[in-house]
């Protein structure tokens, strides 16, 4: 496909938007809930400890998986919409 068309630019912007959104969630569950915001979540008990601990040892990993599959699924739709997908 041609490099500088209007569509190509929009395709790339759609990708960037999706990446930024995903990385906000990525940072929120790991650096946020699991580390920096843990004291604020200390009031939410989970099995002998608090929500922050759960995010640090289980929740963040589960969220990462969901993020990648969501990204792959959305990007494949975007590829098709802009006609840059592979046959």
């Amino acid at each position: 496909m041609s490099g500088h068309s209007y569509d190509a630019e929009n395709y790339w912007k759609a990708n960037l938007r999706l990446i930024v959104g995903s990385l906000v969630v990525w940072a929120m569950v790991s650096y946020g809930f699991a580390i920096l915001l843990r004291p604020m979540l200390a009031g939410i008990p989970i099995g002998g400890t608090d929500l922050g601990f759960w995010f640090a040892q289980q929740g963040s990993i589960l969220t990462f998986i969901a993020l990648i599959f969501h990204y792959a699924w959305r990007m494949n739709k975007i590829d098709e919409k802009f006609g840059v997908h592979e046959e």
Partner: protein, 588 residues
Amino acid sequence: MSQFAINLMFVGGSFLLYIGIAIWAKAGSTKDFYVAGGGVHPITNGMAIGADWMSAASFISMAGLIAAGGYANSTFLMGWTGGYVLLAMLLAPYLRKFGKFTVPEFIGDRFYSKNARLVAVLCLIVASVTYVIGQMAGAGVAFSRFLEVDATLGLIIAAVVVFIYAVLGGMKGITYTQVAQYCVLIIAYTIPAVFISVQLTGNPIPGLGLFSTHVDSGLPMLTKLNQVITDLGFNEYTADVDNKLNMVLFTLSLMIGTAGLPHVIIRFFTVPKVADARWSAGWALVFIALLYLTAPAVASMARLNLMTTIYPDGTAAAPIEYDDRPNWVREWEVTGLIQFTDKNEDGRIQLYNDSPAFESEAQSRGWEGNELVVNRDILVLANPEIANLPGWVIGLIAAGGLAAALSTAAGLLLAISSAISHDLIKGSINPNISEKGELLAARISMAVAIVVATWLGANPPGFAAQVVALAFGIAAASLFPALMMGIFSKRVNNTGAIAGMLTGLGFTLAYIFVYKGWLFIPGTNNLADTPENWVLGISPLSIGAVGAIVNFAVAFVVSNATEEPPVEIQELVESVRYPRGSGQAQDH
């Protein structure tokens, strides 16, 4: 049947399986050798990435680290999984679209510079060689404990097996053996964890058992663990950390380093399409998470099991007599990884935290120091014995530990050999080499790499424990930023990229060496490696993230001060961004 015979059966059986696969998947072309022909299914590739990624460190050491550090060492769990989000969104699909065989090749083409390619080759080799030492040493430990052979002999056996399937099959052989190795290692890790979780909490899923009720006491498992260890002067398992900046940077360094490690990236070159590279990253993380969600449960449960073994009647009562120690303690004592010294000569094993805060309590009980030193690397390996599981589970653990070490070693060796044969020999020294010649060169460099790795594994340099920090630091501070900027910026040029890589790398190495010794030579460090000396409390292990930021900043400033990349390079960047027309990974 004796335990030795069982172990031999499991390990020998798994080795035969790997060799059988190698003969079936022999590489016929450089494309087979470098990218397994480029036709690997995304789920198959995800499984292979899982084995490629999960090393002796993940399988053997990680649970021990978490058991010792509790919440504070959650960094490993998040750091070694969060990198896959970066890989899936920032690197893998575009590098797959680029469609070449190696990571330095992208850097050389994108930054239109042989020097950039050589810097990348250097970073790749240092990061991968340091990493492979740990794998070979890990395989040696597993051999000497379970097969009762000398560690060096064990290493040579392991090296011969890797040699057969990696040299013969290249990426093609490695891919399918890694799939088999993934199955072996995940079964070996999960089965004892399920048994132990059921014993302690009644919940068969370890990740849920971690937050369930401890059957014997009726308390939540983690509350019980906190009680037991604080009674003995240790910090609470779930205690928060004070130095949040360091925890954030350490996690970030591990994530960026994970995304920048070449042996993982090249696995994404083996799938047919760009979309498959995205799916592959997701599947890889699913397969990795099966172990990573279980590891924290193994960590806390094994720690609790260890404590209740030593204090069977509770922490307030006397600990067990040395003569009554369980069999697994006796067996591990032989390896020197468990050591007991009866400091107060009462014939009992006092295991507690020798801290000033606990001193008066210890004195009142007539204790004269902690008497049991348990190497934390044995936790996973000894886990089935601690929980009294049947002999075949122990054999399984032996095969699993070896699968983890060997699969990662093979992936690293492939990254090293392709950098030498494809980037150095074909890319620089002899560009006119024939395909046959290159394939032979790839096999010879693989063989040499195996010999070097085996030698280093048998004679590990004194700094073996430090080198993981080095590998991640280098990958985070040099390779990841160069790759990401190569895709996301059209403005970054050859001068900027090289300046960025070199300053990022130099800064990171300098910070590590100031605390760990220059080139890790003992005594040459300028400052003691203690938190008080760290700049802003940032440990040398966490510096890779700062090095990456330095790399980005220098590359942008230098690029903007020099001329923009030629039009054909800007078009190359444009083309890697759009999936259509990726074809299969190919040679130029």
